[in-house]
């Protein structure tokens, strides 16, 4: 499928390099624009001609059967794929008017503005406090101790973890339960004050109650951040996402408002997947 997967027919997609314009009250600011994105692992093409626009302060869910390239695509957005030597990327990923893949783009700067939460919680082997305070301190966002404490409290509150950990901030982050660890990782990501937070199946390693907590959290966080989440769980996408993209074999089959997508999918493949024929 080669056509631009844009939401709503009346959406005017500006040409590459032009500023985004709000043309409809129902439409949101464009945050990330992807054009003709191809990606290869060695000789195997994993992403084929992706075109998609992701909107600011919304939750966009990427769904699809395993191996469809949704996680790979997510990792293109903050160039985490650079860490894999055999990966080759072509095409445009534009954030804030800049081509992410250009030689001039500093991937460290990019990752500061595009945070990420991983499938398995991966707190650093440091205290809870340090887990959150470390990155902002390195980025010179805070320096004095009191500033750090304020920031840590705010990030932990935003992540809904503050009440559970406020008395044990100096215990190791690994001492928390899985769900708490994942929220710590979210707190760690938002403490850097990014624009976008990428979430790679953030709840797949968690129990149902922790999952629900994190889903609620995503709903709150979208007030401040653009959230792109990969999920293998269609119900989750239906619950939390404003927009949903359906990936299949490295292509985006369908991209639409979540409600529209789940009630009246335009494509046969989407319908089959949503109704559980494969996946």
């Amino acid at each position: 499928m080669n056509s631009h997967a844009t939401v709503m027919n009346n959406q005017q997609v500006p040409a590459v390099g032009q500023p985004y314009t709000r043309n409809d009250a129902a439409c949101h600011d464009l945050s990330i624009r992807v054009r003709d994105l191809n990606l290869w692992y060695g000789k195997n093409q994993a992403l084929m001609n992706l075109n998609i626009d992701l909107f600011q302060k919304n939750v966009t869910a990427l769904i699809g059967p395993s191996g469809c390239g949704k996680s790979t695509f997510l990792r293109c957005l903050n160039r985490m794929n650079d860490l894999i030597p055999s990966v080759r990327t072509e095409g445009l990923v534009e954030i804030d008017g800049r081509d992410v893949n250009s030689a001039k783009m500093d991937e460290v700067a990019l990752r500061r503005r595009v945070g990420m939460v991983f499938q398995k919680p991966n707190p650093f082997p440091k205290s809870i406090f340090e887990n959150v305070a470390y990155a902002p301190r390195m980025h010179d966002l805070v320096s004095r101790k009191t500033e750090q404490e304020e920031l840590v409290e705010k990030a932990l509150r935003d992540a809904g973890l503050w009440n559970e950990v406020k008395d044990k901030l100096h215990e190791p982050g690994t001492s928390l339960s899985g769900g708490q660890q994942q929220r710590l990782c979210i707190a760690r990501a938002i403490a850097v004050q990014p624009d976008v937070i990428l979430m790679d199946e953030p709840t797949s390693a968690l129990d149902p109650i922790s999952t629900a907590t994190i889903e609620d959290l995503m709903d709150k966080l979208k007030e401040k951040f653009t959230i792109v989440t990969v999920t293998h769980n269609m119900q989750q996408a239906a619950r939390v996402a404003d927009y949903t993209a359906f990936f299949h074999l490295g292509e985006i089959i369908e991209y639409n408002d979540t409600k529209v997508m789940f009630s009246t999918p335009a494509q046969k493949k989407t319908e089959d997947y949503i109704s559980g024929r494969y996946g």
Binding site: F118, F124, A135, M138, C185
Partner: protein, 416 residues
Amino acid sequence: MQTNQLLLIFCGALLLLGLLAFFAGRSKASRLRSAGTAMFAQPDQYAWFTVLSTAGPAVLVSALGAFALLLMGADIPTLYLLAASLVVAAIGLMVSLNQVKPDFHARQAIERVIRMTLAGAALISIFTTFGILFSIISEALRFFQMHSFWEFITGTTWNPGASFLASAGRGDGSGAEFGSVPLFAGTFMITAIAMLVAVPIGLLSAIYMSEFAPRNVRTVAKPVLEVLAGIPTVVYGFFAAITVAPIIVNIAGFFGLDASYNNALAPGIVMGIMIIPFISSLSDDVINSVPDSMRQGSLALGMTKGETIRDVVVPAAMPGIISAALLGMSRAMGETMIVVMAAGMRPNLTANPLEDMTTVTVRIVAALTGDQEFESAETLSAFALGLVLFVVTLLLNLVSVLMIRRFREKYRVNNL
């Protein structure tokens, strides 16, 4: 020699008996089988069973006898002992041949014997440890009967010269002093220099190899570093004494300092070079087993690679790195040839690495290569020093094992 011939005859007789047992056992079993009886095992297995029960007890008896001969000083003539063993072998042959019956589990019997033999082999390593402990402790105790333990631990003068006179029948040996503090000071000084060389270079090389180096550099660099560990210590000792020490003396002289040709710096530096691969190899393994999710978590926050390594990877690998350093340290303390060849012989309590110093291992070698009586206090002092060395290295190793176990449990790595 009489005993040698006897031994030869004994072995020959035993071999003959064994062969006899094999064929007798097999033919009986085959006969039974061809007579149509269903048997629990193959004829060969019965044969081996008879061989085992012929030779096994006989060898055991003769070994026990020889041991008694040596250990208790029991006065059993070799001839009688060997004859008794042969009789035992003959009895074993009779009994086992009698055992060759259809309902006898020859295979299980053989496997029991094999299992016990293997377990016996495994016990030898335990015996070795006990042997070391026993030999060191018993001789050390004899030393401490002559000289006080307290003086040994706290004394600052090591001067065994007079005890040598005492064993030669002159003087009473009262002038000898065995204060080991200067020896341990020398050991610690040289070990510290070695660690100052090995830990930074080893750790940083490991970081380069596991975090920065392209794959082909890594595959070359690792075995090349291992070559450093394979060079015999006597070679390092020669290198330290002939090449490095004069260089250090020259450099010190350039700065107007007076350095001894037996300075502590040369053996320390060379020992450090020797230990680099121990530290780098283990650190490299440990850093490689730090889960990649840690690195990704840090990089995803907008950390540079250097910050990720410094603040996340290295702290996570710290228990393993400490473990590697402790292992290296234990090696440095027990290292002998480098210090024997390049460090001094003079016990010298000083903090100046340019002076000559001696170490525990140097004095052990010095005490045991002289021409003294084994009973002399100086010779026995080697065992007292060995005991302390054993205890210290054992503790270092144990702590190191505990650290690496902690690391392993934390990240559930199994290859360390």
